[in-house]
Amino acid sequence: MTRGPLFHEQTARQRIAALVDPGSFDELLPPPERITSPYLAQLGIPVSFDDGVVIGHAKIGGRKVYLAAQVGQFVGGAVGEIHGAKLTGLFKAAARDRTPCIVIVESGGVRLHEGSAGEIAIAETMRAIFECRAKKVPTIAVICSDIGAYGGMGILSTCCDFRVMTEHGRLGISGPIVIEKWMGKKAYDSSNRALVWKTSGGKTKYLLGDADSLVLDDAGAIREAISKLLGKSSAVSLKAVKARQAELAKRLKRFGQTEDADAVWKGMGVRDIEAASLASGPEFAAMAKREK
């Protein structure tokens, strides 16, 4: 029962190396260029050579892609000015070159120390993502760690054509602690890890259609899921947006009042909650499909 390194435990650079064709990654603005955050340095916080995001281009199955991987350990993967500019530039280049763009997300959102710059960068990146989508250039967010995709990065992730998730990944806008702070511990106990994952984890997001694939916590499986999506794009049309809104309205009506996290799973056709909880990503996906 031994296996390779778990994807959610790898560093951003290891993840890129594990996903792309061997030796094909070319880093843009690599560490020796030392483009680090001037704000953090002023605040006496250690800086990082890549400012928390590694970007570049590589090949997956011989096909060129642009690729970014956030470093969750570095200030929670938060987006500062340089970090954000790297993301914006990458998606702009993807649109320009009509080359698919993948972002491995691990971030709580905007870096508070450089708030406005981060906010603006995320907005600009979203604009670049929609430029890609208008040109039918596939954009994919991979969300596979418990830091997940929250705040601006949660929104940004849902702007992409597709989301690949694992059971470890989480996706949302307000983080659990923020929700608890505003709604009270009775409404949402952020220390209840089971509740947090039942509401924002990969399995639930897959059931609700927010994640397009739910895969094993393994580079090979994630690479395979990406490969399948690289040829596709999901156009932004008024019809598609309206359909999605109708879906969301239905979901709200159905589950908006429930206080039982399991109710969503049951409502979506998962019968054996305990078995589904313990199942791996793909097993869960198969169970959900079978029992629907």
Binding site: M1, P5, L6, E9, D146, E167, R193, A194, G201, S277
Partner: protein
Amino acid sequence: MTAANLALRRQNKAKRLQKVGRLARGKFVSPDNVPQVLKRIIEPGDILCLEGDNQKQADFLASQLASLERKDLRDIHLVMSCITLPAHIQLFKKGMIRQVDFCYAGPQGTAVADLVKAKKFPVGAIHTYNELYARYYIDLTPRVALIAAAQADRKGNLFLAANTEETPAIVEPTAFSDGIVFAQVNEIVDTLPRIDIPADQVDLVVQAPYPMHLQALFTRDPAAITDVQVLMAMVALRGIYEKYGVQSLNHGVGFNTAAIELLLPTYGERLGLKGKICKYWMVNPLPTMIPAIESGWVESVFAVGGEVGMERYTAAHSDVFFTGRDGSFHSNRAMGQLAGHYGIDMFIGASLQVDINGNSSTVSKNRITGFGGAPNMGCQPAGRRHPTEAWLKVGAEANPGPGSPPGRKLVVQMVETFQAGRVPTFVEELDAQDPSIRKALHGVTPVMIYGDDVTHIVTEEGIANLAACRSIAERQAAIRSVAGYTPVGLKRRKRDTEELRRRGIVQFPEDVGVSPREASRSLLAAQDIKGLVRWSNGLYDPPPQFVDW
């Protein structure tokens, strides 16, 4: 002298129980009456035993005791394993306690240090578990024992479930010396699954309004194991387990040894060690042992206590764990400690501080914790006579003199050179040597494991084989050699380290065939709690704080 004068204690016991009168129906007391009953059965000057170790607590009885005032209860000689509840601290604050003899004060370590400073903690001595149980039969025999059980039947027989722990060690000396045994139980039933304590030894029973407190003490989340701990685990496996052929052992509760357990089915298997090492264990049902058990490494496990969530798993694996006729898990702290003292090749554990002579301690000026069971296992049992391969091999290295035994138990301290927050583990002098602490303990420094007993120290830098050292100076040089970049380590002399390395007394990872760059969490058989549940085929039920699915 008349015959009546020869059984004064028995007469006194009868008198106390008579005073309880209608506050009990037979043996059974209602929860509301407990304070009144306690007032009537405990007298000034009594030795009072309150059951409570690091896992299981007679917490309802403790809280009722603490609800009394000094006028109701005073001049008490308290004997108990672990001071762990706020209620225990209350007894001291209210001035009820004349003397206390105990083993361990984990969660209340800071409160105990404060009481010592305020001179409100009249301690007799800090003991190891078996040492205190031994004194229950000699000079600390309880007059009254307040204990905890899972269930009682209508006669007062008790079922202790997975957490037998220290109950028999308390009940026997009390019941057989005309003392009073008062049990709190979670429920009263018609038929018990099995009888652990016969009704004959039980005087009073109360069904507590809430189930007794059980601490999930041995649950270590593999997700928190670091690459450095994996490195140390690899070094220990090759440099000690493999080298000496360790068959029987005890593991501490830290992440270092959890890493070793999780490496057995992966790295250990690759080294071809299955069936050669780690067959017989004296250890609680550690969830991190599940992968090794499932992979067929483990012949047997005997435990001093249970572990929350392991009930179904242990019941399903009765070939490995000791179980009752009813099929459920059984533990016994006194017998487990005895087994760990005499019956095993190796004890391996961690500590907060190690001094240059190899003495270790978890006591600091602001936190007095005590010992628990580690010193019983982490020592050379002078009464041991049976040989094993490992025992003889270490003995040969230690070069015993004509007046000493031919073998030695492996007593291994496995520590990172720094604790969290860059606090060095290695120190010239232990905090425990603080004069105020020594004074409170009648001149005794609370040393967890003495340097003379330690055979090996493992750090991320390598192994120091203290058993093979020929002098105190050599031992100190060996310790400095593996103390890394702590102030103690920085004082090492390169020439000494090289000489000790040449003689195999100091070994670096590469000397035992371990490449540090291989050390990675990906070697662990399970990387998180969910992985353990999967290995257990769904039989392990982790406590809620560990569940994220």
